[in-house]
């Protein structure tokens, strides 16, 4: 099986789906001849031409608004928002329009648009090239939110997303775009949405994470394993719908939970996970739930490694929780 990185996996998924389904079109800023600023759409313009791959004017609300109209017509648009930090000009189109078409029309209209967007810090991008806005979208009824951590999942989840009937926010962990490498089968396969994956079996404490943070958590786990700790790591992969069963099964097994994400703490996705565990597994808990997250500050430039959950911070949370 060939080894590739996340960008190549995303590119592969797009190419497979565009070959399979003539309704699939790609649009966004610089996604055409240039192939996207991260090269995720590289080569698509050459293969599929100017009627399938569009460089749009520089306006996110237009990209998503137009994608909605295309989807209403029966196409399968896969718009790219160049950085998740730039998604807010399209916020109304996403939360009030895209997410609501099926509901507000009584099921008459659907807009199966898959919005790809690189997210997250660790690339010295400062406030406007580092954010993790997943909580806004998880909070919005009508959207599915997917965050892969590795090339295999990125390809399989993106293919699932593009074949689904619902709008999806597909957040790609740009810090590990190239660093996360792995074996990816050639050709077609899918990873279903709503299914988490235990990436490290353990008995002592459950660590819930997704996207780029999975790699930080794995590094932390290696450290604490040497000290005799035995964490179980769950890569959530899909934030909505959440694989509640997998989360609760692991927490009930270990009795302890650490939640890691790089978005700010207050009302971050970890708050929802904490509430879920408190509601459904309280009597299994042997320690308080711990959250290791970004701080409730804007995303900083110079101090980004202080802001981002580090392997050290995660390791400390695992130790503290395991020994509570």
């Amino acid at each position: 099986m060939p080894v590739c990185n996340i960008i190549q996996a995303v590119n592969d998924a797009l190419r497979i789906e565009m070959r399979r389904d003539p309704r699939v079109v790609v649009l966004g800023e610089d996604v055409g001849k240039f192939g996207g600023v991260f090269r995720a759409t590289n080569g698509l313009f050459d293969e599929f031409g100017p009627d399938r791959v569009f460089d749009t004017p520089l306006a996110e609300a237009g990209i998503i608004g137009a994608a909605i109209g295309m989807a209403l017509y029966g196409l399968r648009p896969v718009p790219e928002i160049q950085f998740a930090d730039f998604i807010y000009p399209a916020f109304d189109q996403i939360v009030n329009e895209l997410a609501k078409f099926r509901y507000r029309s009584g099921g008459q209209y659907t807009a199966p648009v898959v919005i790809r967007t690189p997210y997250g810090g660790g690339i010295r991008g400062g406030h406007y090239h580092s954010q993790s806005p997943e909580a806004y979208f998880v909070h919005t009824p009508g959207l599915k939110v997917v965050v892969p951590s590795n090339p295999y999942d990125a390809k399989g989840l993106l293919l699932s997303a593009m074949r689904g009937e619902d709008p999806v926010i597909f957040m790609e962990p740009k810090r590990v775009y190239r660093a996360a490498r792995g074996e990816v089968p050639e050709g077609d396969y899918t990873v279903p949405l709503g299914s988490a994956k235990v990436v490290r079996q353990g008995a002592q404490v459950t660590v819930l994470c997704y996207g780029a943070m999975v790699h930080t958590v794995l590094e932390a786990a290696d450290r604490v394993a040497g000290e005799g700790f035995d964490p179980e790591i769950v890569d959530l992969r899909t934030l909505l719908p959440l694989d509640t069963e997998a989360v609760l099964a692991s927490v009930k097994k270990t009795g302890r939970a650490v939640i890691v994400h790089e978005a700010p703490k207050t009302c971050g996705y970890g708050a929802e996970l904490s509430a879920l565990i408190a509601e459904k597994a309280l009597l299994h808990l042997e320690a308080p739930i711990a959250r290791v997250t970004g701080f409730d500050t804007p995303f900083p430039y110079s101090l980004e490694n202080e802001y981002l959950p580090s392997p050290e911070r995660v390791a400390k949370a695992i130790r503290d929780t395991a020994t509570f």
């Binding site: 749009t56 306006a59 237009g62 137009a66 029309s105 008459q108």
Partner: protein, 373 residues
Amino acid sequence: MLASARPQPDDSVFSLLDDDGRVVPGGRAPALSDADALRLFRGLLQVRLVDERMMRLQRQGRLGFYMLSMGEEATHFAVHALRPTDWVFPSYREPGAAFHRGYSLKDFVNQLFGNAEDPAKGRQMPVHHSARWLNLVSISSPVGTQIPQAVGMAWAARISKRDDVAVTYFGEGTSSTGEFHVGMNFAGVYKAPVIFICRNNGWAISTGKERQTASQGFAVKAQAYGFPGVRVDGNDLLAILAVMEDAVARARAGEGPTLIEAVTYRRGGHSSSDDPNVYRDPNEPKEWERRDPIERWKKYLVGRGLYSEAVEQQYRKEIGEEIAAALAHAEQVGPPAVETLFHDVFAEIPPHLEEQKEYLLSLPRPTNPHGGH
């Protein structure tokens, strides 16, 4: 370029019918069969009569909310220039466009009541219709959101090598939104077969048109996006049909979008919750009464020898009976079933919503499931 799409100086407004319904000398009137001319008259009357009835109902407390179109009815019938396979993205003040495409009074009234037979399942406030079987796209309250969507739809038709066109309606206040400019720009760049109909009715709730733009009217904005803009008398249905025919022909021929500014006047309030006497001179709407689009169309029919008092009375009677029947029916249909609250959020109900549904169903029902009236 066709006559009506020619760039116009300053504040001139394209018009074909004078206030007495006569075609102005040299005016190039579009071909319109007798049957269509009468059908349009019936449609105009229906909007007026429905509005009057629904406003009364709202005042009686039998309907939660309503938005009327008094004085602007002619703009709704721009869709006459379309094929059934074309697409319409309305805003909340063009019920005539829906009626003209075949939306029944029964569906219309069921939607106002949000009952179990509302085609959109009681999901939105009154006047937010959706009729996919008529290529009439679901209406949103935030203004302008439909503009880039209509552009995307038209663009998709072009990509798909079909000659469908999309039309979107909005008020002059909406021309201040980002979505208006973004949509116009995308349409110009990709030559999307879309027609933008700006109903310049002078008022955005209480804010006059002079607070929406410093430019001379709204049609001129098209120039910056590289396609024609045309100002048409929005109370002159014949002129509206003429500019629409030109715009639709342009779009179908791959020549790109057109912005049509229909200059009209909102004689009523913004909605049933509004009181325009607070912010504007009550004489102002009266001045527009003499320019009433329905009266003008009636005079046009007289000129063509198509009008008779008997025909009008027949229409009024039929429409009145249809409204009464639709109301009688709608008021006895109950609200949608409780579990439908959870339907259509996604294609399939995910586990967390299934759980919330079971929880809600386990509770006693509120005595009045409706929040409002």
